[in-house]
Amino acid sequence: MAGRAPKRQTEESAAPTMDSLLATKEIVVACGPGGVGKTTTAAASALMAAVTHGSKVLVLTVDPAKRLANALGLDGIGNTEHRVPDAAFKAAGVKPRGELWAAMLDTKESWDSLIRHHAPDAQTRDEILANPLYQNISGRFIQSHDYIAMERLYEIHSAGEYDLIVVDTPPTRNALDFLDAPERLADFFSSRLLRWLIVPYRSKLVNVATKPFYQISDRILGTEFMSDISEFFILFQTMYDGFVERSKAVGRLLSDRRTTFVVVSTLEATPLREAEFFAEQLTERKLHLGAIVLNKVLPDYLHGRAGAKIAEAMKDRAEDLATELAPSLASGDAALGDPAQIARVLTEVADSYLNFQVVALREMEERATLGVVPDVLATVPFFDTDIYDLSGLLRLGEQIWG
């Protein structure tokens, strides 16, 4: 095939990594099951992008561990975006090419600001903010987090302040809730049922089909509660167009080419199945699955058959080995030369290796059966200590970066 252009070298050499993925996107949504290190992964990725890409990066986190919040200089900072100070970078021994900003998501405050934005006039605004139903929805009930996280993302992105926004998603009952949230909200406000609910308190026009509904609702919930509900919805109706439009825009932003999703998981069976399901759903919805990050993976040296053979030998021949090793161990400190004690240590060490090998091999098996193939598959080893500061976060970030 003479006429065919030779394959360009860059295509061969540039296997995609998190580095290249984040260099080309504006929004990265970190998602996945609970307890896998999603928040830390999001923070570490944002940090790496700020350090290496020379861009202005924001990490929007939901509920960071206290030390992670400290590391990002976020302690006590609410909804406002806050720049991670140079001193923190200096302490970690790096000079970032870009800037790292961080913000925490305050659901209640975000809802309030959304109401202020959409309310047609000051009176409606105040009435909504004071409505007991609104206060419950915005503050207490967790489903409202899903929507507000995406809403905040949209708001920040459209303000255009940042080159890259990495957003950590709230822990959801169902990993997909937050994806559906904008659409659900739009559905909710365009629902015919919503109009039903408002009718009887506006006029006496109750038709045959809806009559039983009101009779039952009144009986169950009491008239007062029903009028609270309808007052709330009547007020909300004034913001209907704004809300629907906005939630559609949020939906569009999520499916935009500039947005990518990073699914974080460990190699434990249950979270991994959940992550896999999530990845499949992303693909089905034509959302971009950019990467899967496998977190807290046990080290490679636990896999080999060679290691197991040595551990078995250490266990089976513990007493002989202990006798042989005793003189040189005693040479530094006589107390360390007790063969019985050395034998116990050798046995414990060997048992521990074999125990962890069982887990490590199962992890490998899980990885081999991973049904989804993303552009980037990053593996992050298990860190035996917690992350205290930016240098810890960097250590993690370098593993993610690939």
Binding site: L325, N355, R362
Partner: protein
């Protein structure tokens, strides 16, 4: 003034098991139910988040709203708020029409989605109903994760605050009574000895006390790593890792022993990091609340065998 000791978890009638995602909440809930049934109790376990995982812990067919016996004396069900509503309207309010009249059913579904707390009330209500009905010695709830449980348990109060009259109000009154009685209802929080799970558990304990009427009956600390060495043994271990003895060991076993020693070092460091979180947990939780420790299982598989192992450990911790 000495407080009365807490009612042991298995002596209660309704036990909610919660925990941060990934800490083994379902494992502990399924093991607790199995332990109770093996001790002759008639037990119902209910999965709230319908992920359909619970069946796997007993290797049983999928669970549904209608309970099924999965082990002798142990019945499992999956919560379904719509089914719960139907049952509620039919049994409690004697309104059997919901199944027949489409728009009304739809309207209620909508109301459940829109009005805060309705879904939560239907869930908690069904559980309370099962307890009041008296068919079970114990109802174990594989409850929502710790981020959601407070909203669920506080729902009856929240609704009481919003709804002044009507049948719902009458309903929430008896539910609250049941939930508030520490001899009847308790919450078991599951965590692992890691930073976030411990922090969340301490925060949960505070929120449960402040925002709900349910009592924290215990904290299960899952995946506790074994202690490999005593102090003197650790000194031997450190000496073994020095270049001289290590080379000697390599020669004796005819291979590279470093990875084996390195794995043990990892295990020791992991345990040490976790020990500080365990201390933090003990300090952060009311001393009356028992901590139950479960060992790290070096399997990571789920199934009836694992559930039995965990149930046995749990039984030991509870003093059976």
């Amino acid at each position: 003034m000495a407080a009365d000791p807490l009612t042991p978890v298995l002596d209660r009638k309704l036990v909610f098991v919660t925990g941060k995602g990934g800490t083994g909440k379902t494992t502990v809930a399924s093991a607790l139910a199995l332990l109770a049934s093996s001790r002759g109790k008639r037990v119902l376990i209910c999965e709230i988040d319908a992920k359909g995982e619970l069946a796997g812990y007993y290797e049983s067919p999928p669970t549904a709203f209608k309970e099924k016996e999965v082990q002798p004396g142990l019945f499992a069900m999956t919560m379904d708020t719509e089914a719960s509503l139907r049952e509620y309207l039919k049994l409690q309010l004697r309104i059997p029409i919901v199944g027949r009249i489409g728009p009304v059913a739809k309207a209620f579904d909508f109301l459940a989605a829109a009005a805060p707390g309705v879904r939560e009330i239907l869930t908690v209500g069904k559980l309370c109903f099962e307890v009041r009905d008296g068919a079970w010695d114990l109802v174990v709830v594989d409850a929502p994760a710790s981020g959601h449980i407070v909203g669920q348990l506080a729902a009856p109060q929240a609704v009481n605050g919003l709804v002044q009259v009507g049948l719902i109000r009458n309903q929430t009154d008896w539910m609250l009574e049941l939930l508030s009685d520490p001899a009847v209802t308790g919450l078991l929080a599951v965590c692992t000895p890691e930073e976030m799970p411990v922090t969340e558990t301490i925060e949960l304990a505070v929120r449960i006390r402040q925002e709900t009427t349910v009592q924290l009956a215990g904290v299960v600390v899952n995946r506790v790593l074994p202690e490999l060495f005593g102090r003197q043994e650790e000194a031997v271990f450190d000496a073994l890792r020095a270049p001289g003895p290590l080379a000697e060991l390599d020669a004796l076993v005819d291979g590279d022993a470093a990875p084996v020693l390195e794995a043990a070092r990892l295990a020791v460091t992991m345990r040490r990091t976790r020990a500080t979180h365990l201390e933090r947990l003990r300090e952060g939780i009311d001393p009356d609340v028992p901590l139950l420790y479960l060992p790290y299982l070096f399997t990571r598989s789920h199934g009836l065998r694992t559930t039995r192992q965990v149930a046995a450990s749990l039984g030991e911790e509870l003093g059976y």
